[in-house]
Structures are given as structure tokens and as C-alpha cells.
């Protein structure tokens, strides 16, 4: 229905035989007593259920494209990504700061991923109608997935730098520095840490492995050169969106470390 005629089908029998490959992982886990067998089985079942659910939702959306349904799907993706970006905190976090971080990360991703998606779909690829789910949903998924990692890295690194450089930050404050100056080095380090994966990604794209989207397009029977052009757009788009997300998260999150009187807020790193 959706795949071009020259794409090889994966039958349900084929799918069942692919599960043998997960069983190899299960067998290795049992043999080496890794305690991961249950994880592999549950994970495989979850992957199956989640992907089929997404597949059916996408089929429905593609057959009944409605702008509000597409935006709703994007919102659900954004909320899920925000939850993931702010979940992996050490247990010390007080609920207040986690809620605040959720707001910060969510808003940062909404702004940067939203802007990037609008730019790419309307000015680069010229998607018509503007809400065509075949383009918006996979592109937004890639943008938000990368932005999510950037946001999580940036926030974690800023918190740890603010903790380990507390003496330096307070030495600046004691000299009459504004918080932005006092926290300049933690901010710089957090931004570098969150952007290095983007730089590395641009450096090795196509060399180490073919990116997922390009692989998908080639498997789906598209010309490799068209796949390459899309992949270039995607690589640039991810770099821009991750940089925007990281800078918003870091600069906003930084403010939460200081009181209005430019004192270090008394709390442990989240």
C-alpha cells in the first residue's frame, strides 16, 4: 500500500524468523549469566507492540491527513521526549527543580524543534500541504530525538559543573560579578559537552555507518543520490536544532542556580 513496487516485502513469516536473532542474544545472556534474558524478551515484545502501534497510527494519519491530528502527534512526541530528557537525573533532585527542568527542556525543544521543522519543511523541502504527515512526523522525530539528547547532556553537565566549580562561581560573585559572568565557564563547558556529538556526527556521517533515514530511503527503493540530499538536509537540521535547544536549556537553567540577589541558590546539583 505504501512501499514502492520495487521494495522487497517483509512477511510475517520473515518477521518471525527475525526473532531468532533476538533469541541469540537471549541465549548468550543465559549462557554467560548476564541476567539480561528477561530484559531482551520484554524489550523485544515492547519493540514489536510499540512499532506496530506507531505503524497503524501512521497509516491512519497518512490516509486521513488532518493538520490538527498531525500537530497532536508532534505534541505527543515532544512530551515523550521531554520526559525522557529530564528523567535520567540522580536521586538528589528535589521535585521542584525537576518540574522546572521539565518546563525548561520542553519549551526549549518546542521552540528549536518547531522552528527547525518549519524552516526545513516549508523553505527547504517545500512540503505541500504544509502538514503532510509523511514528512513532518519522521523529520520531527529525528529533530526531537537529537534535541532531547542535547537537552539532557546540557542540563546534566551544567549541574555538575556548577557543583564542581562552586568555589570559582562564588569567587566571581564575591567580586561583584553578575551571575552570567560568574557562571560563564560552567555554561561554556555544558554547551561544548552537549554539542560535541553534533560535531562528531557531521564529521563521520556516511563514513562509519549510513544514517538510518538514508538507509531507509535506499531500502525503500529511492535513488541513493536523493537519499544523500535528504541526509545532508537532515544532518544540518539536527546540528542547528541541537545547538538551539542546548543554548536555551543552558542559559535558562543557569538562572535557577542563582537567587534574585545574585547568591548561589542553596541546593545540591540535580
Amino acid at each position: 500500500m505504501i512501499a514502492p513496487a520495487n521494495t522487497l516485502d517483509v512477511s510475517y513469516v520473515g518477521l518471525a524468523s527475525a526473532s531468532a536473532l533476538v533469541l541469540v542474544a537471549v541465549a548468550i545472556s543465559v549462557w554467560q549469566q548476564l541476567g539480561l534474558a528477561r530484559g531482551f524478551i520484554v524489550g523485544a515484545v515492547r519493540a514489536l507492540v510499540q512499532l506496530f502501534a506507531v505503524g497503524y497510527i501512521l497509516v491512519y494519519l497518512f490516509l486521513h491527513p488532518q493538520w490538527w491530528l498531525v500537530l497532536l502527534a508532534l505534541l505527543v512526541m515532544l512530551v515523550a521526549a521531554t520526559g525522557t530528557a529530564t528523567r535520567r537525573r540522580p536521586g538528589k533532585a528535589d521535585p521542584g527543580s525537576r518540574r522546572r527542568l521539565w518546563t525548561i527542556s520542553g519549551t526549549a525543544m518546542l521552540l528549536s524543534a518547531g522552528l527547525t521543522l518549519a524552516y526545513v519543511t516549508q523553505l527547504v523541502v517545500h512540503v505541500r500541504p504544509w502538514y503532510d504527515p509523511r514528512y513532518l512526523i519522521p523529520l520531527f522525530g529525528m529533530i526531537v530525538g537529537n534535541a532531547m539528547n542535547g537537552a539532557a547532556l546540557a542540563a546534566e553537565r551544567l549541574a555538575s559543573e556548577m557543583e564542581s566549580r562552586r568555589g570559582e562561581v562564588e569567587a566571581y560573585l564575591a567580586l561583584g560579578a553578575v551571575p552570567a559572568r560568574a557562571a560563564a565557564e560552567p555554561v561554556r563547558r555544558a554547551l561544548v559537552a552537549s554539542l560535541i556529538p553534533s560535531v562528531n556526527g557531521l564529521m563521520v556521517v556516511g563514513l562509519v555507518q549510513l544514517p538510518g533515514m538514508m538507509t531507509g530511503q535506499i531500502l525503500a527503493g529511492q535513488s541513493p543520490l536523493l537519499a544523500v540530499r535528504y541526509q545532508i538536509v537532515v544532518a544540518f537540521m539536527l546540528a542547528g536544532a541541537t545547538a538551539m535547544t542546548s543554548v536555551i536549556v543552558v542559559l535558562w537553567y543557569r538562572r535557577t542556580f542563582f537567587t534574585p540577589a545574585a547568591q548561589l541558590a542553596v541546593r545540591v546539583a540535580v
Binding site: G167, E168, E170, L173, A174, L175, A177, V178, L264, V266
Partner: protein, 247 residues
């Protein structure tokens, strides 16, 4: 010292209480710190000495009560300007990356010296802090603890403060280095016109360098007065016991 009334106290604390979580660090403290050259804050560990001086340039604010500086509520001053007038030297010095001169210039820039000519002369400030001019080009991170503490003092002087708060500046130094640092501080206060408020756990330092001493214990004021009187005829038994215990 600026256009202040020389009779009024330098700092006044009015019913100051400081809570941190469930712990009470300072309890209903009412105290005047006079415009003397060097004031020493003494008392056993946990007395609240560091917590007290952190209130004096608003690195912290009290949970309740009021702090006055030059007769005005400390919150009435713009906080960044206040911190340049009231310098703070931490117990453990933190050097900024780069040379000693770079550290000093960073402080001058924060004080609003847009050009090098507006800033105090690095060599003279180093000299005031007891370091010769050759230190200017040295990597601040590679200096010894005593040298770094002097750079901290010099850095604080770059904002031309009226008051210098020192939090146990000699605690990490060996006695000989501590002795020299103390001489420098006393000279700064005497010749540089800077009022010094110093936390110390070495009573000999308080006795020798200060003219006014405040004794704290468990967040409460035990007594305050001229250093000579405190060390020769303290009125409070706890002060006498503390002085005797550390002799």
C-alpha cells in the same frame, strides 16, 4: 572610607537568625562591628563565624533580622556595587585560569574598569598583598597555598574596597607563612585604610592583629569588645574557658 559618619558602626546586625534546612546557624544575633582597623571573629567550630561574614557582602541573606552597612540596610545597596566595596577572601583560595595579573585584571574589569588605565596598578596591589611584581606573569594555578591566598587578597583589592572580609585566611597555611600573611593584612588595614573583618581559629592571630574581637558560640553572641579586654579580662566565663582551652 566614604562619606559615612565615622561614629556609626561599620556593620550592625539586628536580631539576625540564619536557618539552613533544619539547622539554626545564627540565633537572634544583635551586634555592632565598629570602624576599627581589624575585627576578629573567634569561637569554636560551628559557632557561625563564616555564616556571619557571608551576610556582610550578601553572599547569603539572613532568614530573619536585618544587617546594616554604614547605617543603611545592606539590601538598600545594589548588590554588585556592595560586593565591590566589601571584598571577600575565602578560606580556600580559588584561582581563575591564567596568570596572576589576569586574575587581578578580571577583578578590575568587574569593578567597571573598561581600560587598563582605570584599574589600580597591578604591581602596587601585588606589593600591598605582599607579593613582588615578578608574580604578575606567573600561572596562578601553580602557586603555593600561601601565595594563592595573597593573590586572592590582591584580587579583592582590585575593586578598591572599603572593607575586606577574610574567612580563616591562614587556616591552610603553615605557621610561618600564616604569620607573614597576617602582617600583610595588618599593614593593609593600617596603611591602606581598609577595614578588615577576619574569621580566625588561631587566637594568637586575633590577639595580635585585631583591635576588636567578637566571640561566638553555637550561633549566639557570647561577648564582643576591645581585643585587649577580651583577652585579659573577658567578662563571660565561656570566653575565658575558650581562650584557656586553646592556649
Amino acid at each position: 572610607m566614604s562619606e559615612s559618619n565615622s561614629a556609626s558602626p561599620l556593620f550592625s546586625l539586628r536580631n539576625v537568625t540564619q536557618q539552613r534546612g533544619d539547622a539554626t546557624i545564627l540565633r537572634d544575633l544583635t551586634l555592632d562591628l565598629p570602624r576599627t582597623a581589624v575585627t576578629a571573629l573567634i569561637g569554636p567550630s560551628g559557632a557561625g563565624k563564616t555564616s556571619l561574614i557571608r551576610l556582610l557582602n550578601r553572599l547569603d541573606d539572613p532568614s530573619s533580622g536585618e544587617v546594616l552597612f554604614d547605617g543603611k540596610p545592606i539590601t538598600a545597596y545594589p548588590v554588585f556595587a556592595l560586593r565591590r566595596r566589601v571584598g571577600f577572601v575565602f578560606q580556600r583560595p580559588t584561582m581563575f585560569e591564567g596568570t596572576v595579573a589576569g586574575n587581578l585584571r578580571a577583578a578590575a574589569m568587574l569593578a567597571g574598569a573598561a581600560h587598563a588605565t582605570d584599574a589600580p596598578d597591578v604591581t602596587r596591589v601585588l606589593d600591598a598583598a605582599g607579593l613582588d611584581g615578578s608574580y604578575a606573569t606567573r600561572d596562578a594555578g601553580r602557586l603555593s597555598g600561601g601565595e594563592q591566598q595573597r593573590v586572592s587578597i590582591a584580587r579583592a583589592l582590585m575593586t578598591r574596597p572599603d572593607v575586606l572580609l577574610l574567612d580563616e585566611p591562614t587556616s591552610a597555611l603553615d605557621p610561618e607563612v600564616a604569620e607573614r600573611l597576617l602582617t600583610t593584612v595588618a599593614r593593609l588595614a593600617r596603611e591602606g585604610g581598609v577595614s578588615v573583618v577576619m574569621v580566625t581559629h588561631r587566637l594568637s592571630e586575633a590577639q595580635r592583629a585585631s583591635t576588636f574581637t567578637v566571640m561566638l558560640e553555637a550561633g549566639r553572641l557570647v561577648e564582643a569588645g576591645a581585643t585587649e579586654r577580651i583577652f585579659t579580662g573577658a567578662t563571660h566565663a565561656r570566653t575565658r574557658a575558650y581562650i584557656a582551652s586553646t592556649e
